[in-house]
Subunit: 438 residues, 2 copies
C-alpha cells in the first residue's frame, strides 16, 4: 500500500476538465501545457499504474498546438481525453486486450470519439481493458492507490488514469459493472448514463440490450460536461440545496455481501445527508425480483454474446475458452424470459425510484481486492445496467493508508440531468465528511 | 414496364447460392466463372438497374481465383455476395448514400462481413441504399422489373441486385421495413431474422432496439444458408408436408391499406395452402394495440436516433433537415412508454403466434410505386421489426406485364429455423400457383 501521490499545487494535471477548459478559453493555459503536464504525470507514474495501451506524445502535443492556434471549437476545446481500448479511434490501434487483435490497424473514430473531437477534445491515447471488455485477459493496469490491487474491470485503464491525474477525462464502457466498479476501486467520479442515450457505434459490441458508454472525470461537473457533450444543447441546472432533498437508500440485492468499507461509505453518506437536512428513506426492490434480475443480467448478456462474438469464435480457434463456450453453447431456454422480465421491471423500477431526487446504492461490495486476476465483483452494478438506469459513482473521503470506497447514485431512466444536479450537491457535502478511518 | 430479362439457361448467374456452392465444391464450376457471370450480368444490366455503389471487377476476380486455388473454407466457399453500403467492408468505401461520406476511406469489415469471408464468400461490391438507411437521398437503383419504379428502400441495391441475377446473395439492414419491402417490390426471397441473432457491429447504427441485419437470396434454401452462416453449427431440418400445417393469417394493422395486388397475393397463398391440406386460420392483434405498435415504432426509432445521429448533426450543419430535426428535437415524453409498450407486446405476440407453423401477413400494401422519390411504405413491416420477430418474404408468381407481389411469413422470436423450414415448404407450393393476372 503506497497511497496515490497528488500532483503539486499549480500542476495543470490537477485541474478538473471544467477548470482546464475555462483556463484554456480564457487564455491562461494552453492545451499544449495541459497535455504536457498529463504526459509528465504519465511518465512519472506509468511504471506503477500501466494504464495506457497506446500513447503517442508527439502526436498529442501536435494536436494540442493545433487547438491552441485555432478558434475555440466547443465545450472541450484543448482538453485531453483518454479512450478505452475497445472504442475505435482514428490513427490509433484498437487491441481490445485480445491476443488476436494486437496488430489490427487503426480505423475510423467511434461516434462518441468523433463527437469529442468535434467539440475540441484532444485524444491523448488508448486505455487498457479486460479482454473485449468481458473477461479473459486482465488489463496490465494497477490500482493507483496500491499497485498490488486491481483497478477494477473492465474499464481498468480509464478509471485508473483519471484517478491518478494522468488525464482529466476518459471514456469507458459498461455491460455489467465496467464503468462504476473501477470508479469505486480507484476513487474517482464516474457516470454510466441511461442506456441508449449515447451512441455506441464503433465500440466493441457485446450485448445490444446492455452495452452503454460511460465516462470518468475529476468532479461531478466534469461528468456533466461530458453528458452535455452527448446531448444536443443541454444545460445542467444548478445543484440544489441539500436540505429538503429526498434520497432513497437501496441495498437490493446485495445487502448481505457488503463489507465494512462499503457499509462505512454508505453510512457516512447517510449521516452527512441527514445532518444537512435531507430525508434518507429506505427503498427496496421486491426480494424475489432483485435476485432474479441478477440472474437475468447474466442470461441476457450471454445470450446476446452468442451473436456478437461469433466472428471471434469462428476466426480464432484459440479464443479463450469461457468466451468460446458462450458462443458455442445452445441458446438458453430462458433467454427470452430473461429479456422480457428485465423489460417489465424497467417501468416498475422507474416508478419505485421516481419519488426520490436520487437513490443511494453500493458501488462495490468492498474496496479493491488484490489483483490482477480478481478484478472484483459486478454484483452491485449489473442490475442497474440491465434496468437501463443512469448511475453516478461518488467517492467518499478516506484516511491515509486506506483504499477508496464510495456510493452509487441512481435514478429512473432518462433522468440523467436531474441525477447530475443532485450528485453535484452531494459531492460538495461528501467532501466535508470526516475521512473514513481517521 | 419492360419486365426482367432472365439469364440464359446454363448461365451460372442464374444459380441460387446453394447450387453455386455445390457446383464449386464438386469442381464443376469455378468461383472465377461464377463471379465473371455476375460481372457480365451487371455489365449488361447496370445502366437500367444501377444497384452498385462500388464494384472492382479485377479485385473480385482475384479473390475468386484465390478461392479456386484454396481448400474449401466453409459453406460459402467461392460464392459472391453483395453488401449494403451502410455495412463496413474492408478495402471498399462505405458512403451510406450520404453526401458527407462519399470520400470516407475503407475501414475494417463489419462482424457479419468478417463471418461471410471466413466461410469463403467473395465480397463482390457495395450496394446502394437510402441515405443512412433512413431517409433523405434515395438510392439511384431502379426496380429491375421496371426502371420507372422504385426497388423499395432502404436496401434498394441489395434487393434489386439479387432479384436481377447480378449476385446470388446480398446483405441488407432493417430498422423499419428496409429488407422486406425491397424484397416485395423486386420479387425476391428475403429474411429478417430475430432481433439480436446476427451481429450488427460495423453497420451504421440507427436504433439499438430495432436495427437488424437481413439478407436476400434466390430461394428459401439460400436464406437458410445465410442463416446457418450466422449460427454456430446450426442445421435446418427438411421442409415439412403442407398437409397438416397450421398457418395463421394476420392483416394487423394494415388490412385497410391493402391494394388489389397485395390482396391477390395473399389470396393465392391462402387458396394454395388450403388446396394442399393446410389449415389457414385468421389471427389478429387486438385492434388498439396494433395501431399503437405502429406509432410506438416511430417513437422508439426517432428517440434512439437522437443519440445515434448526433455525430452527423454536429459535424454537418447541412445534414438533411428531417434527420437534423430528429436529433435536435427534445426527447418525446412518451419515448419510454413506447419502449416499454413494445417490450410488453413481444411475449404477448409470441404467445399469439405460437400455435402456428408460420403466420402469413402482407409484405407491402401494393406493388412498387413509381420512384425514386416514393420508396414505398414500411407500414406492413415495422411492427414486426419492433416486435423482434423473424420475417421471411416469399414472392408469388405473376404474369407478364405485372409487377411482383408476395407475402411475409412471421413467427415468434427465436423460431427462425422453424420458420425457414415452413417457408421452404410454402415456396415449393407457391411455385405451382397459376401466375397472378394470367
Amino acid at each position: 500500500m503506497t497511497g496515490l501521490p497528488r500532483p503539486a499545487s499549480g500542476d495543470p494535471a490537477a485541474l478538473d476538465a471544467v477548470a482546464a477548459a475555462e483556463e484554456i478559453r480564457a487564455g491562461r493555459l494552453t492545451s499544449e501545457a495541459l497535455v504536457r503536464a498529463c504526459l509528465d504525470r504519465i511518465a512519472r507514474r506509468d511504471e506503477a499504474v500501466r494504464a495506457w495501451t497506446h500513447l503517442d506524445p508527439e502526436a498529442a502535443l501536435a494536436a494540442a498546438r493545433a487547438a491552441d492556434r485555432s478558434a475555440p471549437q466547443g465545450l472541450l476545446h484543448g482538453v485531453p481525453v483518454g479512450i478505452k481500448d475497445v472504442i475505435r479511434t482514428a490513427g490509433m490501434p484498437t487491441g481490445m486486450n485480445s491476443p488476436h487483435h494486437q496488430s489490427d490497424g487503426p480505423t475510423q473514430d467511434a461516434a462518441a470519439v468523433e463527437i469529442l473531437r468535434h467539440l475540441g477534445a484532444i485524444v491523448l491515447g488508448k486505455l487498457d481493458t479486460v479482454e473485449f471488455a468481458v473477461n479473459g485477459r486482465r488489463a496490465a493496469t494497477r490500482n493507483p492507490h496500491d499497485p498490488a490491487r486491481t483497478p477494477g474491470g473492465s474499464s481498468s485503464g480509464s478509471g485508473a488514469a483519471v484517478a491518478d491525474f494522468q488525464v482529466p477525462l476518459a471514456l469507458g464502457t459498461q455491460t455489467g459493472g465496467s464503468v462504476i466498479r473501477p470508479a469505486a476501486f480507484c476513487g474517482v467520479p464516474a457516470m454510466k448514463p441511461s442506456w441508449g442515450s449515447v451512441p455506441t457505434e464503433g465500440m466493441r459490441s457485446c450485448s445490444a440490450s446492455l452495452d452503454t458508454l460511460g465516462w470518468y472525470g475529476r468532479s461531478v461537473r466534469d461528468l456533466a460536461l461530458l453528458w452535455r457533450t452527448f446531448q444536443w444543447q443541454a444545460a445542467i441546472p444548478l445543484a440544489p440545496e441539500i436540505a429538503g432533498l429526498r434520497i432513497g437508500l437501496c441495498l437490493s440485492p446485495v445487502a448481505d455481501l457488503l463489507q465494512p468499507p462499503a457499509l462505512a461509505a454508505l453510512a457516512m453518506a447517510v449521516e452527512a445527508l441527514r445532518g444537512a437536512g435531507a430525508e434518507v428513506i429506505p427503498v427496496e426492490l421486491p426480494e424475489q425480483e432483485g435476485a432474479r434480475l441478477s440472474e437475468a443480467h447474466k442470461t441476457v448478456m450471454q445470450g446476446e454474446m452468442r451473436a456478437t462474438f461469433l466472428n471471434e469464435a469462428l476466426r480464432f480457434p484459440d479464443l479463450y475458452p469461457e468466451l468460446r463456450g458462450i458462443v458455442t453453447a445452445p441458446m438458453q431456454d430462458d433467454f427470452l424470459d430473461a429479456l422480457d422480465f428485465a423489460a417489465a421491471m424497467r417501468p416498475r423500477t422507474d416508478a419505485l425510484f421516481a419519488p426520490f431526487d436520487a437513490v443511494l446504492t453500493p458501488s462495490a461490495p468492498d474496496v479493491a481486492p488484490i489483483g490482477p486476476e480478481n478484478a472484483g465483483s459486478a454484483l452491485c452494478n449489473r442490475i442497474w445496467t440491465l434496468l437501463h438506469l443512469p448511475v453516478i459513482h461518488l467517492p467518499l473521503p478516506h484516511g491515509p493508508g486506506l483504499l477508496p470506497a464510495g456510493v452509487s447514485l441512481i435514478a429512473p431512466r432518462g433522468r440523467d440531468a436531474a441525477l447530475l444536479r443532485t450528485a453535484a450537491a452531494l459531492e460538495g457535502l461528501f467532501a466535508t465528511c470526516p475521512p473514513r478511518g481517521v
